[in-house]
């Protein structure tokens, strides 16, 4: 068995006391970094990369894998507790995670997200081991035209998370597209809406906008509603270690298939370079909402609405390792930093990496597996500490959160302009919440908009302006058909329902 011997090799590399220590330390540091708003996996890895340079490559990558996973777990904690996603892939987790915390179910929410992340990561690693060569082939058939259709599909999924008022949701998404226009146009090299500012040439980053709209916006809204005057028990009911701290049987039963579906879906989308965890979490969330018997609960604290994106984004981050290891193509911000690290250690990324350095590649894969186990344990130990933090009166928590948001934003690129963008978005986020607009739609449009624009223009330049490319390439065509079904199916259903109702009316 190829798989078993590969895994055995991996474990023999990863399971040494020293490497176990590295993965644990990495996971722990990663989690602490991830808890700071704005610090997701790619920022975490980039900051902590220099620490690993003094180690030998295998130990270094094992520690980085720990940091990678740790910061993903840590990032979700802020999504749930203070409604501030650390990266675009955890935006979907705020939708139900934060309402759960507000209902006093922060403990179960954190435990369930740790379990969902663990399941997602584990399913991902198992799929890597068994199907890596096959998935590498799939990833290789994806060019700009396929990505464009995939992003269009992602944008369609956006409508599911817009909340009750779709018109407001669409306005929110258009606002996100508008912000995305700022910066250098990749295709022509011309600057758009930069007003002569050097810091705007690279465009407006996702992180200041997300921290502002979600984190600061939520704070302002709490103050507006007078929540800060309430006793902590009313604001966030916390039960320590008693009944209600651990998820109950209903939570497990309700979400067991959600975890599985989210993991597989997340992995498949994650394998595609560039699409990654954000689209995976979006698709998983909307799939669960569509399949749920109680879709009206989504957005108000449904456990499945938290579990679905969490399982998906962790599985996607394992999936992203496939193009990196088998093709040498980085699929996300974090894996691009890892690719840079490979070069620093003198490893040549590319299709031969796994063949020439099997101990390195399989060591990395198994350490991801171990990282997952370590993090599940670390999380379950640490969750009471995080939940305990919620018992601090909200009026004392407020300034700390503001300081953390400002530090997180400023330390990303050391840019004061980005800090202002974050604060302005905070005020906007407050009004959006007050009048029922959707901040999630805005930030996701900010991420997906430029991808849609660039891939469409790349496709059309390469085809000399001919649209026929969308029906000539089989994968593009299949995705196009799925998009069309996704648009047309609900309309047909509505017509059928209407005519049925009419018929019934006539019969009656």
């Amino acid at each position: 068995m190829d798989l078993l011997s590969n895994l055995a090799l991996g474990f023999s590399v990863a399971v040494t006391p020293l490497n176990l220590l590295f993965v644990t330390v990495g996971a722990f540091i990663g989690m602490l970094v991830g808890v700071i708003p704005g610090f997701g996996p790619s920022a975490g890895i980039a900051i902590l990369l220099p620490i690993t340079l003094s180690l030998d490559p295998t130990s270094a990558i094992i520690m980085l894998a720990g940091i990678y996973y740790g910061s993903m777990y840590g990032g979700t904690i802020t999504s749930i507790l203070i409604n501030t996603p650390g990266e675009s892939a955890t935006v979907a987790s705020t939708l139900d995670g934060y309402p759960l915390a507000r209902q006093g179910r922060a403990g179960p929410a954190l435990v369930m997200q740790a379990i969902a992340s663990f399941v997602g990561g584990t399913v991902g690693v198992i799929l890597i081991c068994s199907l890596a060569p096959w998935f590498a082939k799939v990833a290789m058939s994806f060019g700009p035209s396929e990505y464009f259709m995939l992003v269009v599909l992602g944008l369609l999924m956006l409508t599911v998370m817009m909340g009750e008022n779709q018109r407001y949701g669409i306005v929110s998404a258009l606002f996100g597209f508008a912000i995305a226009m700022v910066g250098v146009d990749v295709v022509s090299g011309q600057q758009r809406f930069t007003f002569g500012s050097a810091e705007l040439i690279n465009g407006i980053d996702f992180i200041p906008v997300a921290i502002g709209l979600f984190g600061i916006g939520e704070l302002l809204s709490c103050v507006y509603e007078g929540n800060h005057r309430e006793k902590p028990q009313d604001m966030m009911k916390v039960k320590m270690f008693g009944k209600g701290f651990w998820p109950n049987a209903v939570d497990y039963i309700e979400t067991k298939w959600t975890m599985f579906r989210g993991s597989v879906l997340g992995f498949v989308v994650g394998v595609l370079p560039g699409a990654g965890a954000t689209i995976a979490s979006l698709m998983s969330y909307s799939l669960e909402k569509k399949m749920s018997k109680t879709p009206e609960k989504f957005g108000k604290g449904a456990m499945a609405g938290l579990v679905a994106p969490e399982a998906a984004n962790n599985a996607a981050s394992s999936g992203a390792m496939i193009p990196l290891l088998t093709l040498g193509i980085p699929g996300s911000g974090s894996t691009a930093v890892l690719l840079g690290a490979f070069l620093m250690w003198g490893l040549q990324p590319g299709p031969l990496l796994m063949i020439e350095h099997p101990e390195f590649s399989w060591g990395l894969i198994t350490s991801m597996y171990m990282g997952n186990i370590v993090l599940l344990l670390v999380n379950i130990v640490a969750i009471p500490i995080f939940v305990k933090a919620l018992q601090v009166p909200y009026k004392l928590l407020l300034p700390v959160i503001v300081v953390l948001c400002v530090i997180g934003t400023y330390s990303l690129h050391g840019s004061i302009i980005e800090t202002w963008i974050m604060l302005i978005c905070g005020v906007l986020g407050f009004f959006m919440k007050l009048y029922g607009y959707s901040p999630a739609a805005t930030v996701l449009a900010l991420v997906l908009g430029p991808m849609a624009e660039n891939t469409l223009r790349q496709t059309l330049i390469a085809s000399s302006g001919s649209f026929s490319v969308f029906v000539q390439r089989p994968v593009t065509l299949s995705l196009l058909i799925i998009v069309l079904i996704a648009i047309v199916f609900p309309i047909i259903m509505r017509i059928i329902n209407k005519s049925r109702k009419n018929n019934r009316d006539i019969v009656a």
């Binding site: 540091i29 602490l32 900051i47 035209s145 705007l200 370079p273 093709l327 953390l404 000399s464």
Partner: protein, 352 residues
């Protein structure tokens, strides 16, 4: 949450402790007061000082890296800094800082705001020429004091491993005979990646569509998925693909072949004399610094290029060693700037 805060404070301390243990990270530490002091001192006063008695260096060096961690510019800067430290070429401390943004506009803009300060230094790349041309950031190559050109980056034209053409001649022949234009990918719109295929097409007499991507990953997957016909690649990053047979190299844009790709001819060998446009990897000081400081750095950089570590860096990153010091470097920048400008005006990317 209190706990959370104290945890993050603990984390920062932890980082500081670990950072001291590893060399590259130690560079990130920034003593806040020293650079400021250097900046606020009037330049004229400093010149007086230097005339009286030349004592250099007296202060810590502020090394601006105009790009993010892990990129080509970052790796080169940190390699040079390590060499300077290891061989005791700079007696004070060196503080390296990544000031990324706007394709170098932020970092070099910062250096430009420290005119006359002999303790401000930075490293260059292709954007050192292109960014001022296209985005008017308030400086160009003339705003700085040139020290040395250390190496150049050149690119390799690659097609997919199973493409029907094996040589540059076959590729050009196919481009001329088929109906559809050749789609060639590269990174960025106004960059060497875009200019090289354009120069080739012009000299060989065929038409292309240049497809700009944002990163190497996007570009590679577009080629492997048959979405584009060829791409301009960085040799260090494409080497793995070439060895595995996923990509076929057709020609190299340097003046001479590189040891990593010994069988790949240069465009010049194939008769396309104009298709070479080396991206300058060099070192510049802030503008208006005393001549003595410039000379001191020219001598020091000469020593750097003689070290084993430097040779290893050139080889590991598939760069071409290309040494020009002081005014020769300025002349080189002038010429490169003119080539870029002419091409950009001709392609319509630049209005003049």
């Amino acid at each position: 949450m209190k706990k959370l805060f104290s945890m993050s404070v603990a984390l920062i301390l932890l980082l500081a402790v670990t950072a001291c243990g590893s060399k590259p990270a130690a560079n990130d530490a920034k003593p806040a007061d020293q650079p400021q002091q250097a900046a606020t001192q009037p330049a004229a006063e400093k010149k007086e000082e230097q005339k009286a008695e030349f004592n250099y260096p007296e202060k810590n060096l502020n090394w601006t890296i105009a790009f993010g961690p892990g990129g080509g510019n970052d790796i080169m800067s940190r390699t040079i800094i390590d060499i300077l430290k290891k061989h005791d070429l700079y007696s004070k401390d060196i503080i390296a800082e990544n000031r990324q943004g706007g394709s170098g506009a932020v970092g070099w803009g910062y250096l430009n705001s420290h005119k006359g300060d002999p303790y401000q230094i930075s490293s260059t790349s292709g954007s050192f020429i292109t960014t001022p041309l296209v985005s008017d950031p308030g400086f160009n190559y003339e705003s700085f004091t040139p020290v040395a050109l250390m190496a150049t980056d050149d690119m390799v034209l690659v097609v997919k491993g199973d493409a029907p053409y094996n040589t540059l001649e076959e590729f050009i022949e196919a481009a001329k005979t088929r109906d559809k234009k050749m789609a060639i990918g590269g990174i960025g719109a106004v960059n060497v990646d875009a200019i090289l295929p354009w120069l080739l097409a012009k000299e060989a007499g065929f038409e292309i569509e240049y497809v700009p991507f944002q990163g190497d990953g996007e570009n590679t997957s577009a080629l492997l998925s048959n979405s584009i016909d060829a791409m301009m690649a960085n040799p260090a990053e494409a080497l793995g693909q070439i060895q595995a047979g996923q990509m076929k190299p057709l020609a190299f844009s340097g003046q001479v072949r590189i040891p990593q790709l010994p069988d790949v001819p240069t465009f010049i060998e194939k008769g396309y004399k104009s298709v070479t446009l080396p991206m300058p990897r060099g070192v510049v000081l802030a503008g208006d610094v005393p001549k003595e400081v410039q000379d001191w750095w020219v001598d020091t950089m000469k020593k750097v290029t003689e070290t084993e570590e430097w040779k290893k860096y050139i080889n590991d990153n598939s760069l071409t060693e290309y040494l020009l010091f002081g005014d020769d470097f300025t002349k080189y920048l002038e010429e490169t700037n003119k080539v870029f400008r002419d091409v950009l005006i001709e392609t319509g990317a630049l209005k003049q």
